[in-house]
């Protein structure tokens, strides 16, 4: 059976971290997560990694493979050059806990800061009627598996640390967009997006869209429409003028 080398980031918990090379057997159809599991079972039982479904549906096994943010369970070995060591690193935008596991708790804190879904009343027959074509765009956003790879590559988080000042990142712009564009929703999140959640920091480099394993058009379909709505509301000179006269915010 063929062998390949996996250069895996080890360490954390206050100890210095470094790459360690593991040589292991590989076979047809294997993905990176299989190789990590094999290393864990045979050579390094204390190797820490998150995983659950192993089918790209839960978004647990996010990592940087040869420097590219990916799900380990969906990265087939035949898509990589196995003549060189394959590097497997944790998501670098988040604090390291141990090995491939990072502290992603910021993401869980960000969500409750976004105004929740507020549906309009039901129709007389007790249902809510919505056409499929009207829910299509929301369903795209709701495919999100919360793997946080988009957060990992967003330079506003990764290089500038703006999430510590309230920037919510692409995942939560998608979440906000799913609520804003929900046919039943009556909530209003535009002022929060502009003032508190840092929508303006995004300069549309589309790194988030590039890495999304669910192929959600994060920038084009979520972030840009939200930016347009903010501009219409707060920066359009005509509506601004009208607002002065109508004495609204």
């Amino acid at each position: 059976m063929a062998q390949a080398t996996f250069r895996i980031w080890r360490g954390g918990g206050g100890k210095p971290a470094q790459f360690v090379d593991y040589k292991t057997e590989v076979s047809e159809g294997m993905v990176v997560l299989d190789a990590v599991h094999r290393v864990q079972a045979e050579q390094a039982p204390d190797l820490a990694c998150r995983w659950n479904c192993k089918a790209g549906k839960c978004g647990s096994c996010s990592a940087e493979i040869n420097g590219r943010p990916k799900l380990m369970c969906m990265t087939r070995l035949n898509s990589l050059d196995l003549t060189e060591p394959v590097t497997v690193e944790p998501m670098r935008a988040f604090p390291l806990i141990k090995d491939l596991v990072t502290d992603v708790s910021f993401n869980f804190r960000a969500k409750p800061g976004i105004r929740k879904f507020a549906p309009r009343p039901r129709e007389a027959d007790g249902t809510w009627r919505m056409a499929q074509r009207d829910v299509d765009r929301v369903q795209e956003f709701r495919k999100c598996i919360e793997c946080f790879l988009c957060q990992d590559v967003c330079h506003v988080i990764r290089d500038h640390g703006k999430h510590e000042e309230g920037f919510i990142g692409p995942r939560y712009f998608v979440y906000s967009a799913a609520l804003e564009m929900h046919p039943l929703d009556t909530g209003d999140r535009l002022r929060d997006l502009k003032d508190a959640h840092g929508l303006g920091y995004c300069n549309i480099t589309k790194c988030c869209t590039t890495v999304c394993p669910e192929h959600i058009h994060i920038t084009d379909n979520a972030i840009i429409p939200l930016k347009e709505r903010v501009v219409d509301r707060f920066y359009d000179p005509v509506t601004r003028l009208l607002r002065v006269f109508s004495n609204k915010r």
Partner: protein, 604 residues
Amino acid sequence: MGAPQTYQYDVLIVGAGGAGLRAAIEAAAAGVKVGLICKSLLGKAHTVMAEGGMAAAMAHNDDRDNWMVHFADTMRGGQYVNNWRMAELHAKEAPDRVRELEAWGAVFDRTPDGRINQRNFGGHRYPRLAHVGDRTGLELIRTLQDHTVYLGVTVHMEHTVIDLLVDDGHVSGVLAYDRERGRFHAFAAKAVVLATGGVGRAYQITSNSWEGTGDGHALAYRAGAELIDMEFVQFHPTGMVWPPSVKGILVTEGVRGEGGVLKNKEGRRFMFDDIPDNYKPQTASDPEEGWRYTQGDKNARRPPELLTRDHVARCIMREVKAGRGSPHGGVFLDIAWIKEKLPHAADHIRRKLPSMYHQFKELADLDITKEPMEVGPTTHYIMGGIRVDADTQESTVPGLFAAGECAAGINGANRLGGNSLSDLIVFGKRAGEHAAAHAKGRPVPALSEAALDRATRQALAPFERGAGGENPFAVQHDLQKTMQDLVGIVRTESEMQEALTRLEALRARAERAGVDGHREYHTGWHAALDLRNLMTVSEAITRSAIERKESRGGHFREDFPDKQAEFATFNIAVKDAGGSMKVERRPIPEMPAELQQVIEQQKQ
């Protein structure tokens, strides 16, 4: 070692899949203090893997549907050993539970008139499954998660429960460890709800994630609760068989619901060869009628591919054993053929089954719009579990509740596809409601220091044995192989007795499991601790399966291939009796006349 950090809750929920989250929402709504413990990050539980939909008789796509038809379908699917009261409550309450999800932001696929769209599924007489493409589980868990985070429920992520604590016969809390630091945490709780899911990791080929180690089943058993129906394990007929690393991953029944057909290597639709008598009146007589059914023709009967899962799984096994299987030991599941029937078939398949398209494209280099898939049975679900009261979901231990897959009753000998997601929300709600009511007015229990000390010592024992002990991954692997080979889809007395012998030896090895290093996020240590639970559920499955000397639903015995009327009158229960497992029979209470009448009516 230090004393564990302690917390106090009125209601503590273990598990954050569909049932756990729904229970948390209901308990929080009752105004009590709620804690939620989950093994993974929030929103990653196995519920995300559910694909096809949730069954609720809303009659949007066929106005002949109602709770009575759903009830009768569930009982027929479960071969009449279900808890009929649970089946009744489930059928009656599922529609409201689904509509409620819409109020919390769920976005189901729509009918042309704008209502929730419902699809066909195995064993359901009418289109009944509310769905979102083939990612309904994700929609369910995200909706519940996004609703829960605004309710003030405290979530302890990446915590694993080691033991339930029981004080004077009443549950008093749990001891857990956190994965991140490996520290111990003691939770005092007036009521505990177990919603820990299934046991799939006891088998080699499974659709379950690492979390499915039977924790709730084993925790309840050790606390003195009864488990019932443990012999009924569902082997889903269609799991991926190739490549090897993805063997077992689920291929939704929705593929067949959308017109996919099963063929052997000779190209024969073998499902037409064996249709059980009690399903004959409802099954299509030819492929053309089956196709019309999948396209919503109300006068057509369903294709045999949509018979119950236990039956389809055995038919696939038969083809493989007879040498008529596919190259990698499965059979062919073909959805690409519908291009003969539909214009733009490829787009249609991608829209109806997006995650299946994605899964095969990325993991097997196969385009399901052009080629057939290779599929074979995979361990998917356990019908058995903690014995609960139908209305309150309380177990036989006061203060201990259970909901979802780890509880038993609704499914009997075989679960219909789509009845699980609706089970989670119907009985998750009931468990949360009754746990909260139970907690109100009770004092905060005191936790026994001696019990905590004993449990933490036991949990740390693998470190004392160090790397010289048994490799926990190796023990788990051998356990899975034992169950797969000897207590799998086709069972027989001698093999199961052999399994008991091997389980005994494996238990001794599990007790010698050792790891070294630090406690921080130590996967080997976690695997060592999981072994205890896996051993318990494996033994329970095996002993119950030996006791049921007939074939029924998910339980098939080569040495007793027929159904026996005598065995329809009781459930098999296992219970801890001073360290050894006791097997007993629990008579099924007589069904009220009005429910019997419903079943008779629906037989026509």
